[in-house]
């Protein structure tokens, strides 16, 4: 691998990311899968870096998940998106930061469609007005939340308490970065680093002391694939994709996986359990799995937040070996204690995949 070659491509795919004043569009499924991630995005940006991020309780799903699951047409998704924009306009923001990759793809796709076909945009404006008497301005900048995190990576690095380094050996941790498909595959110029060699996550990893590994199936989908998972008859294809990725990354012995998509960390995490059950195979050291984290969780660990506050106990794959490597202190007894020490109850342990 010739690093300079990648740098050259990255220089061709830089995107302008304003420093401040963002309207935050949350993800519908992330709030359920990894609720602390969005919370800590706001915590880091607002409390730590002092940025102005507007979190509006009136916004809804962007419609992307239904659109990609073939349950609503694009016109419906456009009307939903137009309403989100009107909320942003009403709140007085021009920059949109999106938590979900599919949302980011959805917003981008719709904006590009409107650019190409202004009559579609006019129609959507008319529909929105008829439906709820709302008007909107299109956002000036659309960024994915990971773009923003990438943008602030050096500021975070400056405040880091822990590095992505193995405390025992002093070696950088080997990190697999997985980019959500809808991030840049549709519009390479909308992603940091383009579609083939995106650097949005690898930039963070580099900056925080880790080492990105580039394995053959890096570009491959995590396996969620919407209908591939949602329709049970197709589920075998969903897990086959994930399996293929793990087989491909296994020789590199990665310490962790980071992702910037709602579905990816979920499937890269949970399918490890299913693969272990079906094939008896585990990919981490000593029978553990490979922890699959969101970039916010990784940033939170680097910044020294408590792993249980970051919601890492919600992962199927045990996080403890990673914490040990990084030297992050944790109290095992508090793993399954929620807010106000409420007992979340310890789950049943799987047969093949080693967990705590």
């Amino acid at each position: 691998m010739i690093y300079q070659g990648k740098e050259k491509i990255w220089s061709d795919y830089q995107k302008e990311i304003p420093d401040d004043h963002w309207f935050y569009a949350r993800s519908c499924i992330r709030q359920n899968f990894f609720p602390a991630s969005e919370k800590y995005f706001l915590t880091i940006c607002r409390d730590l870096l002092g940025k102005d991020i507007c979190d509006n309780e009136h916004h809804t799903t962007c419609g992307g998940i239904s659109y990609h699951s073939d349950t609503i047409p694009q016109a419906t998704a456009m009307a939903i998106v137009a309403r989100q924009f009107s909320l942003m306009t009403e709140a007085g923001y021009k920059n949109l930061v999106v938590s979900c990759i599919t949302s980011f793809g959805n917003y981008t796709e719709i904006l590009e469609t409107w650019r190409e076909f202004p009559e579609v945009e006019a129609r959507v404006r008319e529909d929105l007005w008829k439906a709820c008497r709302r008007e909107f301005e299109k956002p000036e900048y659309v960024a994915h939340a990971s773009d923003l995190m990438y943008h602030f990576r050096d500021e975070i690095a400056a405040r880091a308490k822990y590095k992505l380094v193995n405390r025992q050996t002093g070696e950088p941790l080997k990190v697999v970065e997985h980019i959500g498909c809808h991030y840049a595959k549709m519009f390479p110029h909308k992603g940091v680093g383009g579609a083939e060699y995106p650097c949005v996550l690898s930039g963070m990893v580099d900056s925080w002391g880790g080492k990105v590994i580039d394995y053959p199936e890096r570009r491959h989908c995590c396996g969620f694939g919407f209908r591939q998972y949602l329709v049970k008859a197709n589920r075998g294809y969903s897990i086959a994709n994930t399996y293929k990725k793990f087989e491909s990354m296994a020789p590199y012995h990665p310490d962790m996986i980071i992702t910037n998509c709602p579905g990816c960390p979920y499937f890269l995490d949970r399918w490890q359990y299913v693969i272990a059950e079906m094939e008896g195979k585990t990919y981490g050291e000593n029978g553990f799995g490979i922890p699959a984290l969101t970039y916010e969780e990784m940033a939170g660990l680097v910044l020294g937040y408590d792993p249980w506050d970051l919601g890492l106990q919600l992962h199927q794959v045990a996080i403890e070996p990673l914490l040990d490597k990084m030297g992050v202190p944790y109290d095992p007894s508090k793993k399954y204690l929620g807010l106000n020490e409420k007992d979340l109850m310890k789950p049943e342990l799987p047969k093949n995949l080693r967990c705590f």
Binding site: M1, I2, G5, K8, G194, E196, Y197, P216, E217
Partner: protein
């Protein structure tokens, strides 16, 4: 004869035209931006279909134009039409007034970096057709790791050709036969290697090309896979993994290679574009210079006194280029003669 004829570009077309003009009694001026004559022949190793050494061809062509005025490392600063002549200013301070200009600016290879998915410049063992010719010529290349011999080599046809998204819808014509030639050469060097050609169509249009193809199949056992490579990645040993669809089989296919060669296509020389805008020469829909007529008069520009030869009007083989250069020399000769009779008539 005093008429000045300027030939822009000292490649195969320029050299052949200059030689023909010399035999017709003119002393043409060759302007070459690089430090040597011969153009792409200079970088190539052997030429299909007879495996003629490119150096030998270039040398023979250069020998014959010793009496021409040759400016190496020279670029045109400005070119203007003044009455019936063209005034050309060069970066070495020389100004020339000439009756005819022959554009032989040729082509450049498609920048393989632009096909990001193939990882040229990123993966350790991905090279282009030109790099391979250089290696055949004895240039050191770290990417060709033949310490233990090569076990598997792949050739990707149509890199940057027939690719609207890469900005080139045209076929580069010579890559198919070049790929087979290079595949055979690799197989000759490494008889035990598996050699794969990933093609969309095999366009074996020229003399003995089909024989080359059959030889490649039968005598060398080269595997031809109909399908365009979709993505390239690298495995932990630094080997290249290629994915394509085997379209004749309707199934995805994957193979690990020691070396991947990208057959970078032919695109119009970027300097030609500059020249075209200075002279207000139109470009054709394929991005190459537009001739007066694509059937009957490929060697004349729509502007009087400006002639074309070779790949500046589209991808061409060496023999095609040479033939055009000869035709262009004759057309210039006729142009000057008619010009003379016209001026003497008016006097």
């Amino acid at each position: 004869m005093k008429e000045n004829i300027v030939i822009i570009g000292g490649g195969a077309a320029g050299l052949e035209a200059a030689y023909q003009l010399l035999t017709l009694g003119y002393t043409p001026i060759i302007i070459e931006k690089s430090g040597h004559l011969g153009g792409h022949l200079y970088d190539w190793n052997r030429l299909f279909p007879d495996m003629t050494p490119a150096k030998q061809v270039a040398k023979a062509m250069m020998e014959r134009v010793k009496d021409a005025n040759i400016f190496l490392n020279t670029e045109i600063i400005s070119i203007d039409k003044k009455d019936d002549a063209y005034a050309i200013v060069l970066n070495n301070g020389i100004s020339i007034s000439c009756t005819a200009v022959l554009v032989t600016t040729g082509f450049q290879l498609f920048d393989a970096h632009k096909k990001e998915e193939y990882g040229y410049g990123i993966y350790d063992h991905v090279i282009t057709n030109k790099d391979l010719e250089g290696w055949f010529n004895g240039n050191k290349d770290r990417r060709v790791d033949d310490k233990d011999g090569l076990k598997a080599v792949g050739f990707v046809h149509c890199v940057g050709s027939r690719d609207i998204k890469a900005g080139n819808s045209q076929c580069s014509k010579v890559c198919c036969i070049t790929a087979i030639k290079q595949a055979i050469e690799m197989k000759e060097k490494y008889p035990d290697a598996e050699v794969y050609c990933f093609y969309m169509d095999l366009r074996m249009f020229g003399k003995k090309y089909e024989d080359f193809y059959i030889n490649g199949q039968k005598d060398h056992g080269i595997h031809f896979i109909r399908g365009r490579v979709s993505e390239v990645s690298e495995n932990i040993d630094g080997k290249v993994i290629v994915k394509a669809e085997d379209t004749l089989n309707g199934k995805p296919i994957k193979v690990t290679l020691d070396l991947l060669v990208l057959m970078a296509g032919i695109v119009c020389n970027s300097d030609t574009a500059k020249l075209a805008s200075a002279l207000k020469l139109p470009t054709d829909t394929d991005g190459f210079l537009k001739s007066k007529d694509n059937v009957l008069n490929i060697i004349e520009s729509p502007k009087e006194g400006i002639f074309y030869a070779g790949a500046c009007t589209g991808p061409k083989t060496v023999p095609e280029t040479v033939a055009e250069a000869r035709a262009a020399a004759l057309a210039i000769h006729n142009h000057i003669n008619s010009h003379k009779s016209w001026t003497s008539d008016s006097e």
